[in-house]
């Protein structure tokens, strides 16, 4: 196993084992008659994650590879910057829906993301956003009779 991948697997195994152990403790805090299955599952997950951890530890790379991993650490974060940004952008959109309402926030999100990811023609961005909202309105509001999310302001 390459040093970089070793660190990734080890970190993953440690986190998974920790989460499984916490869930096991929690499962045993519920009354016995309603937590048999959760107890069985959390204990099984903990055991499996320990096996995963043991396998990750067994595949420890040599010192030279470990040094190389240290150098590559920065590139690991670089490669995760964009996914994090996309996720935050989506989270911001959901928050905006609850504040400024569905229509305004959807237009802002669609136009903003398209512009951010490389679209620059305003008529394309606004046209697609308008078409999307028209389809959503026709399908969910007119056809299915659902209410769109409302914000604090609109």
């Amino acid at each position: 196993m390459a040093a970089n991948s070793y660190k990734k697997e080890l970190g993953f195994s440690v986190v998974v084992t920790g989460i499984c152990a916490l869930l096991t403790i929690r499962a045993f805090s519920y009354p016995g008659d309603s937590s048999q299955f959760p107890r069985f599952l959390t204990v099984t997950m903990t055991l499996l994650s320990i096996v995963l951890l043991a396998r990750a530890l067994r595949s420890r790379p040599d010192q030279a590879e470990a040094g190389e991993a240290e150098q590559k650490r920065s590139s690991f974060w670089t490669s995760h910057k964009m996914p994090l940004l996309i996720f935050l952008l989506t989270a911001l959109y959901v928050v905006a829906i609850q504040v400024i309402g569905y229509f305004t926030s959807t237009v802002l999100f669609l136009v903003g993301s398209m512009a951010f990811f490389g679209r620059h023609r305003p008529w394309v961005m606004f046209g697609i956003s308008a078409l999307f909202l028209a389809v959503i309105y026709a399908l969910f509001v007119r056809f299915l009779g659902l209410r769109l999310p409302e914000g604090l302001l609109f």
Partner: protein, 499 residues
């Protein structure tokens, strides 16, 4: 047989509603678009439109979802053949010969063969579903609480053992799916577990919300962060494809073998279309007189792969409808759609909801007929859709995912749950943890816990009596044996891979 024929008659009448037929057409168009767009899977397509079916009658809603399932499984072949990018994982084998055919200037022929093969495979598998499902349903009536519990465990164990790259991660994923499904109230005692004070979780984690998050957010991240391969130069689809479709009938034995493989693989819980496709491709290569042509543009390779993956559709619905055990992730979502409409999958489904079930099965026949002309028509223009820039596609998928997860209970909390599951899905993808076991666990978990609770109450809470009951019941023993076998196969594969 009486139930079967009366069901077909009643279901046929429901299907004749013009609105249902229109929905099949609409679902087919949507499915072909979703299937041919790399990154958008059949599971995601079905999951996204489950909320749209809320206002419809069960027969209409299920016809729409079934049409998406059939057409999206087929449509992935279009991008596989034209661009060497499989639209869905089910079509990963099609590109091995489909793309070389395109390079030789035979893209029209390859698309015609894949369309015809998909239609034949799908059509025959629905026949199998129609005639195999009722006897299997009768057999399923012999299943008690403990057998259902073991069946759920078997379902998860199979997919975990199929996680070739890392069985341990597959098993953890399956167990975590089971765990997520038990969040909320206990089915018998009503005690609330693992809700962390969120009232929306008292009735459990909403399945569709979880599925939308698990499949859409990670794909959007991949599309927008440029982790997927860039789309290549488009190539036009040739004319005269209808004539070329008839060529598949020169390979009748191949068609039959690939269909049988697809149906069998589909029936086994956890084994998906991509596995059926590879098994059928391998079988076709071994039995072909022109095996040297495989990988260089063999029409037999395209036919075998596409026939088998569409034959999985009918096969996967056999255990899903009769036992409540989904054959793969898409049928798991379909099962979710079925439950949302108040139908309980299992042997009684064919008795209590006879007309709706048969209307659904018959609608799949229609879907398999409809996607042929629609698919061939769209294929000619599909190249443009496939080239939809990520900067437009990504935000639109996010918008649809947010609206889809909100629409289920008109709750913004559920949108946040979708986001959290989406983040989990991204992390799983990043750390190479298969998502399919989690989906099956999520669907099978509530059945496993409910049946375990019932089985335990039947033996007055004695674990020893329950184990004794399992070891003395022939059906339980068979399921335990199959579970151990599937686990052993997974372990064996891991050992062989390590050399």
């Amino acid at each position: 047989m009486e139930v079967l024929f009366s069901g077909i008659a009643k279901g046929g009448l429901l299907l004749l509603d013009p609105m249902t037929l229109f929905l099949i057409l609409a679902g087919t168009v949507f499915g072909i678009i979703v299937g041919s767009l790399p990154g958008l899977t059949s599971t995601m397509g079905v999951a996204l439109l489950v909320p749209v079916t809320f206002g419809m009658s069960p027969a209409m809603g299920l016809a729409l979802l079934g049409a998406i399932y059939c057409s999206s499984t087929y449509a992935g072949a279009i991008s596989a053949i034209l661009l060497n990018i499989p639209g869905t994982p089910a079509n990963c084998c099609t590109l091995l010969d489909g793309y070389p055919m395109t390079q030789k200037g035979e893209s029209g022929r390859a698309i015609a063969l894949s369309t015809a093969g998909s239609a034949v495979g799908g059509f025959l598998s629905i026949f199998a579903l129609l005639f195999l499902a009722p006897p299997l349903a009768e057999f399923a009536l012999k299943f008690g609480a403990q057998e259902y519990f073991l069946l759920a465990i078997f379902g998860v164990s199979v997919i975990a053992s199929l996680s070739e790259r890392n069985m341990i991660k597959g098993l953890i994923s399956g167990c975590f799916g089971l765990f997520l499904s038990i969040v909320g109230m206990h089915p018998l005692t009503g005690n609330v577990r693992f809700t962390f004070g969120i009232a929306e979780l008292y009735n459990g984690l909403p399945l569709v919300v979880a599925l939308i998050g698990l499949y859409s957010i990670p794909e959007v991240i991949s599309i927008l962060s440029g982790r997927q391969e860039a789309v290549k130069q488009s190539r036009s689809v040739g004319r005269g494809v209808f004539g070329q479709m008839m060529e598949i009938f020169h390979h009748k034995i191949l068609l039959l073998r690939a269909t049988v493989i697809g149906i069998i693989v589909g029936i086994i819980p956890g084994a998906g279309s991509s596995i059926a496709s590879f098994v059928a491709y391998d079988d076709a290569k071994r039995s072909s007189k022109n095996s040297g042509m495989f990988g260089k543009g063999s029409p037999e390779g395209v036919i075998a792969s596409e026939t088998a993956n569409n034959a999985v559709v009918g096969g996967s619905l056999v255990p899903a409808l009769t036992l409540g055990v989904p054959g793969n992730a898409v049928s798991a979502v379909l099962l979710g759609g079925l439950m949302i409409h108040g139908l309980k999958p299992g042997p009684v489904l064919f008795i209590e909801n006879n007309a709706i079930v048969y209307s659904f099965i018959l609608s799949l026949f229609v879907s398999n007929l409809v996607f042929v002309p629609v698919g061939l028509f769209i294929a000619r223009y599909c190249v443009r859709l496939i080239e939809t820039p990520a900067s437009i596609l990504g935000p639109l998928v996010v918008g649809l995912a947010v609206m889809g997860s909100y629409a289920i209970n008109m709750s913004m909390v559920e949108v946040w749950i979708m986001m959290a599951i989406g983040l989990l899905g991204y992390l799983m993808k990043e750390f190479d943890v298969p998502r399919e076991p989690l989906v099956l666990g999520l669907v099978l978990g509530s059945m496993a816990e409910g049946e375990l609770a019932r089985a335990m109450s039947l033996v007055h809470g004695s674990v020893l009596s329950l184990i004794q009951g399992m070891l003395t019941s022939p059906i339980s023993l068979i399921i335990i044996g199959l579970t151990l076998l599937s686990l052993w196969q997974g372990i064996k594969k891991q050992l062989l891979a390590r050399g």
